[in-house]
Subunit: 568 residues, 2 copies
């Protein structure tokens, strides 16, 4: 999901900003500008941020200003919060509250001095930077606080020292990657130290013959694929375009290609991780498979920064396919489309993408692109392999489609035609705003066993259609992963609550169908309240035990993933 | 590895046995006979073992015999151990000791009574049964003790009660599956309770449309595939034929098909696990993918019974391919063969098997089968898919082979011809005994990044050739997973030590090449001493923390996986 999501994110800073044009820039463009000097992933020096100097230049003054509390730290400003006095986000299963509470203590001055000694120029107390880091623009969820300080480590050793220092003073840390997550993963409800990994984005080693690459976590997947292109290799996960590899590990992300290549879980060979005590842990060797001890790699993938800070990732790569075919077809009902997705998977062939879009989504695409596509449930496929095999797969699926009331089967093999066809799916979310240009989007993310997908979508659509809000459906149908884009007016509290109610309806429906509350977006603060229903309190207690033994001071991204009510 | 391994295992019981013919039967046949009534995986009642009644009939007498200690428990017999007075298995990195020491306390009588109340007839104190369970015949490693009691739970609830009872009295438990593991996983160096899962082998639910199946852990992968055959589905991991699904999870096993379908890590959707405190934990929903919390599924896979007892497994299934082609070809050197494996993987096509056999192995095959195959390094391939695609892949690889000095490329498409060709690889280990019929085999298992495979094999072969022992090489070449079968005379201590020395050489060579000490056989007691070199003490400390918090009394398969010298 979330193709080009960050393109739609708008910075709504109410604070005075040192970038005068910041209010009008979208967040993605802002970040792109900031990182303009960091294009060359092999050149670490060039990755240093131009605005860092400005921010850090005030640091000595800041440190000298006050003992025992954060110098230059503004008083907490209630206007930062959308609803600072509302109930906690975890207000029971029917809660539609979205504000993530926390308790912010003053950060010890001595810690700031230690951090400055570690990070030197690469640290800032600048209010605007802290505001941006504390209020991720893609998230429906809002925090009552922002981080006290942002550090930009340049090496694993620096990360280790930062974490050790924070652990000594029991100050929370929030690891910060591409910030494209939408469930509140990077919020700082308790303030503390935000560790922005964007300076650590080197490609440390590429092993073409082994089809793997060792990278620092700050590199984006798009940057990485640009780097890999000359070698005929690529990394096959495609979340929102701003996502960084470290963040993708932390949230166990996937995307439309997961049906063919698996999720982040399946595509990481090894990690290096800094634990709460500063230990640098290597989770596995570079061998493609191993049975040597507990799978710490997988334990860290999806742990959302609550167990450690990822400092190095060894990724499995794929060969760029010789040939691909993109196809599209329409169905009388969502059930017919879902049935074709099942039959395709059951046929034994390996599609690389199977995406489902409902009639509302197709209408949005027509409006946004001036097209005249049939406004009915639609499946889009991608087939890859040798030329002959890609065509053979296409023919097999075409037969399946025709057996399930499918129509208008169109396909493209020429690059321009494929690009044009696939653009429709890629820009689906963007197209939604064509329906209601002034609204925000809340995006659900659930996943069920494939046989339940049609049932889930049918149940959900009944509820969505009965709502006053406009909602579209997009699914990674081959995986049973289902998203709804719910458009709402952020200035209308009842609309926001209705969006959250619809989201909850879909989550409960998915759970009743043996599914999960999140297929790929993660837990963050947004999905914590569903975990017990999905997994049972015994599983959560087990997670909490692991969290507690590895992070006894609860400094690692506290308030995320594990519901606070879980007791040991 | 370990195709038909259990066919070669011989029971060398020195004790009086209630099965008179047990001495002459190989262990696999013995187990097969025992489980003759358990063929129908859907029929739980029929899985009850015939000899259980005999054993359990003496239990009331046993329990009445002595208070505070195990009734009918024989005195510890040093003759049970191959070298009871030798040093610990963990005698430093150059140790070639193979005896796993432990301290055995007397099992509390009250625990036996509790276990009897839980398991009723499905429990035994019979010496021979305990001997068989304590001395797995496939393992190079030997224990000084055997379990005090064997229980055969019939349900998850019984497992939970058994574990809870053992935890209350701090008595060790050893989960016991197919017992095909070769690194000492099922040894009972501290005695205690062996939990034999063989009665829990039901198929609980098959979801054809979702291509998944929910099973109890005692079912074997071969039994499961027999059950799945009518549905056109199969489970694509192929370790030793006696292996059970639960044991395969516990050891994170794989096999020759892992190059195409991944390892156990990639093919398990969800688990249910009984923890040390008796908690029954569901690790995930049945959705194909999820980002909901820590990956407890993967944490348990490969934990070798040290964190929990697996009681239910949801497995991902595959469609039986429409067509397959088996091919074989020869090379002047192992390096040429390994280079072709790399080039094949780099070509982007997806072979389902790429197996490498060296010239010694081919000689063994010739002798064993009366064949006249070229005695040179050999690659065997399997290609699957549609008929056209399988053939296309074959042609692509045939071109690659011819570009790398390969010769004698033969292929088979007819079922009988494929079976004949593949039989060569399947019975490779068996064939080794044709070289030295009276010897035992020690099997190494290391894995390196693919680009290092030729180097690893070259280094290893130099050492192997210089040894007085006969050694053959078999590799899952597509994964960089390399095995050596080292034949030695078990009555000659210096030969046993030489076998272990060669194993150590290969492990250290693999570790120096960014590899792992075990690709698929697991750690058990045999590979513990290499883990620190592979992963570093920080990773081991992390594992020990997790172990300690989930199993504070260290009752779960103690003495395995985590080296005892690791401190928190």
């Amino acid at each position: 999901m979330a193709y080009f999501f960050s393109r739609f994110s708008r910075l709504r800073s109410s604070s005075k900003c040192f970038y005068e044009n910041l209010r009008t820039l979208n967040f993605h463009n802002f970040r792109t500008q900031k990182n303009a000097h960091a294009r060359n992933v092999m050149d670490f020096e060039r990755a240093k941020k131009p605005w860092m100097t400005w921010s850090s230049s005030v640091l000595p003054l800041a440190l000298a200003f006050s003992a025992g509390s954060l110098a230059l730290k503004p008083q907490f400003n209630p206007s930062l919060c959308d609803a600072p006095n509302s109930n906690s986000r975890l207000g029971g299963k029917d809660s539609t509250q979205f504000v993530v509470k926390g308790s912010q203590k003053e950060i010890p001055q001595v810690l700031l001095k230690e951090l400055e000694a570690i990070c030197q120029d690469n640290m800032t107390l600048d209010y605007d930077e802290r505001y941006i880091h504390g209020k991720p623009q893609n998230s429906f969820h809002k925090a009552v606080n922002i981080p006290d300080v942002i550090v930009y480590p340049r090496s694993e050793e620096e990360v280790s020292k930062i974490v050790q220092a924070c652990n000594n003073y029991k100050v929370p840390i929030v690891p910060y990657g591409g910030a494209t997550s939408i469930e509140g993963h990077t919020l700082s409800p308790n303030g503390g130290v935000c560790i922005d990994m964007s300076l650590m984005k080197r490609v440390k080693a590429l092993h073409v013959e082994d089809m793997d690459v060792v990278v620092e976590p700050g590199i984006g997947w798009i940057e990485l694929n640009e780097y890999l292109e000359p070698y005929g290799l690529f990394f096959p996960l495609d979340p929102g375009p701003g996502a960084s590899i470290g963040g993708m590990c932390a949230t166990r992300c996937s995307g439309s290609l997961a049906v063919r290549y698996g999720t982040m879980r399946d595509n990481v060979i090894s990690l290096k991780v800094v634990l709460a005590n500063g230990d640098i842990v290597k989770t596995a060797s570079r061998a493609r498979k191993s049975a040597a001890g507990y799978d710490l790699t997988r334990l860290m993938i999806g742990s959302e920064g609550t167990l450690g800070v990822i400092t190095e990732v060894t990724l499995r790569l794929q060969k760029v396919p010789q040939h691909s075919v993109v196809a599209m077809c329409n169905f009388p009902s969502v059930k017919d489309a879902a049935d074709v997705a099942i039959a395709t998977m059951m046929s034994g062939i390996q599609v690389s993408r199977v995406e489902l879009l409902d009639e509302v989504q197709m209408k949005a695409i027509n409006i946004a692109n001036g097209k005249n596509l049939p406004e009915s449930p639609t499946l889009m496929f991608e087939f890859i392999g040798t030329e002959a095999y890609a065509r053979e797969q296409t023919q097999i699926v075409q037969r399946i489609v025709s057996e399930h009331s499918g129509s208008d089967f169109v396909l493209a093999e020429e690059p321009a035609a494929k690009k044009e066809l696939w653009k429709i799916r890629k820009e689906a979310l963007w197209a939604c705003f064509a329906l209601k240009p002034d609204l925000e989007a809340m995006i659900s993310d659930v996943c069920v066993p494939l046989s339940h997908l049609a049932d889930l979508i049918s149940r959900s659509k009944k509820e969505l259609d009965a709502s006053s809000l406009v909602c579209t459906v997009i699914a990674h149908a081959g995986d049973g992963n289902f998203h709804t884009v719910i458009l709402f007016d952020p200035t209308q509290e009842e609309q926001r609550q209705e969006a959250e109610r619809l989201n909850q309806f879909m989550v409960h429906a998915a759970l009743s169908l043996e599914g999960t509350c999140t297929g790929e977006h993660g837990v963050g603060t947004g999905k914590m309240k569903y975990l017990e229903e999905e997994l049972g309190v015994e599983a959560l207690r087990t997670m909490k035990k692991i969290k507690t033994v590895l992070d006894p001071n609860n400094i690692m991204n506290p308030g995320k993933l594990i519901p606070p009510h879980v007791c040991l």
